[in-house]
Symmetry: C2
């Protein structure tokens, strides 16, 4: 490949047009984060957000296909990390080994960009149905992508469907645990605490695999 979408600290090899566009996009995310925190998700209209970022309401939809998208501006960051991790497969690795490592890694750089957005997102996923729906879709898509790469990494051991099942099991364990943990009214707790709790719970759930190692 030749083009990496856009990353905070990225090369200036971009045209004015692109830079301007990226700046506006960023402004939209920030304005939205701000307004959502201040007035709530449902109370904030797309028009409000567009106005805050100084663009026309109509133009908003040329940056984000929906209001929910604002909360997942880097929908693929984690996926890319996981995929990269899979690529680093070491000889002798079992599919499960690779997945466990990838999972761990994705859990770590949990703080994608502004932790503020991340925290807000968790709260909204818990409270707003449409946001939860979007989050689940993003997750499902990511899962599929990872499965594709896993299958490719072990052509002799897994077919597409088996890989998808395996990935589903691992990610399912994590999200299942997370779902329960996030039910607590006071989310903002401490990311590390949650992280640890997830690891503990999934360790039990995935124990058969870890034991096999």
């Amino acid at each position: 490949m030749q083009w990496v979408p856009y990353d905070a600290g990225m090369a200036p090899e971009t045209s004015l047009r692109e830079r301007k566009r990226a700046r506006t996009r960023q402004a939209l995310v920030e304005a939205a984060t701000d307004l959502f925190e201040r007035h709530g998700y449902e109370q904030t209209t797309v028009a409000d957000i567009a106005a805050a970022a100084e663009i026309g309401t109509r133009t908003f939809f040329s940056y984000f296909a929906s209001k929910e998208e604002l909360l997942f501006p880097h929908g693929d960051a984690r996926i890319r990390a996981a995929v990269a991790s899979i690529a680093e497969r070491r000889p002798g690795d079992e599919p499960a080994d690779v997945l466990l490592r990838a999972l761990h890694l994705v859990g770590d750089d949990n703080d994608d960009l502004t932790g503020r957005l991340a925290a807000l997102r968790l709260r909204l996923i818990r409270d707003v149905p449409s946001v939860r729906g979007k989050a689940l879709q993003v997750q499902a898509d990511g899962q599929r992508e990872i499965a594709r790469h896993l299958a490719a990494a072990f052509p002799d051991r897994l077919d597409e469907v088996q890989a998808a099942a395996l990935v589903g099991a691992f990610i399912g364990a994590v999200t299942g645990a997370l779902q329960v943990l996030l039910e607590d009214e006071d989310l903002p707790e401490d990311p590390a605490t949650v992280q640890a709790a997830v690891e503990r719970a999934t360790a039990t759930a995935l124990q058969p695999w870890m034991a096999a190692r």
Copy 2:
């Protein structure tokens, strides 16, 4: 609308009010199924459906909270089956045993009511984002419910979070496989074939547990 003097499969404890309401609800689902099949999901408006069922558009929302809900009129049937299955826990059963049995069972009575609605639903889940989102939410909620019961069934072995992780892993494996299988353009294949493929793939993914038995 025609009159069915006596519906054999209905609980006797219902008042006229309830029966009438149930009939209208059913009429709505049927009208929707029909229209969705004939003109497509997005091309069919809630007003169309309400008209077809002979009720006011406004009234529709006193039966279903959203257009998507029409596709999941028995959102809890499978869950109840799984929960019941868990309740039948036999001494000596491991959590994983109970889950495997429940999963198998849920996969079986896959034909919830009119296979027509079920088939349509699968197609729409694959093609319409908002429907996919809804499906994922229903699934997540069901998962949570099952986890609750599993935790209750093994108070000495699992806490809420561990149970959720375990359930997430099992259901995640199944849905992961299913997701890939449904990508084929020609869904209507043969339910049994899909069922078998899912079992095969999940067997690989969950093998460590099955082996432990």
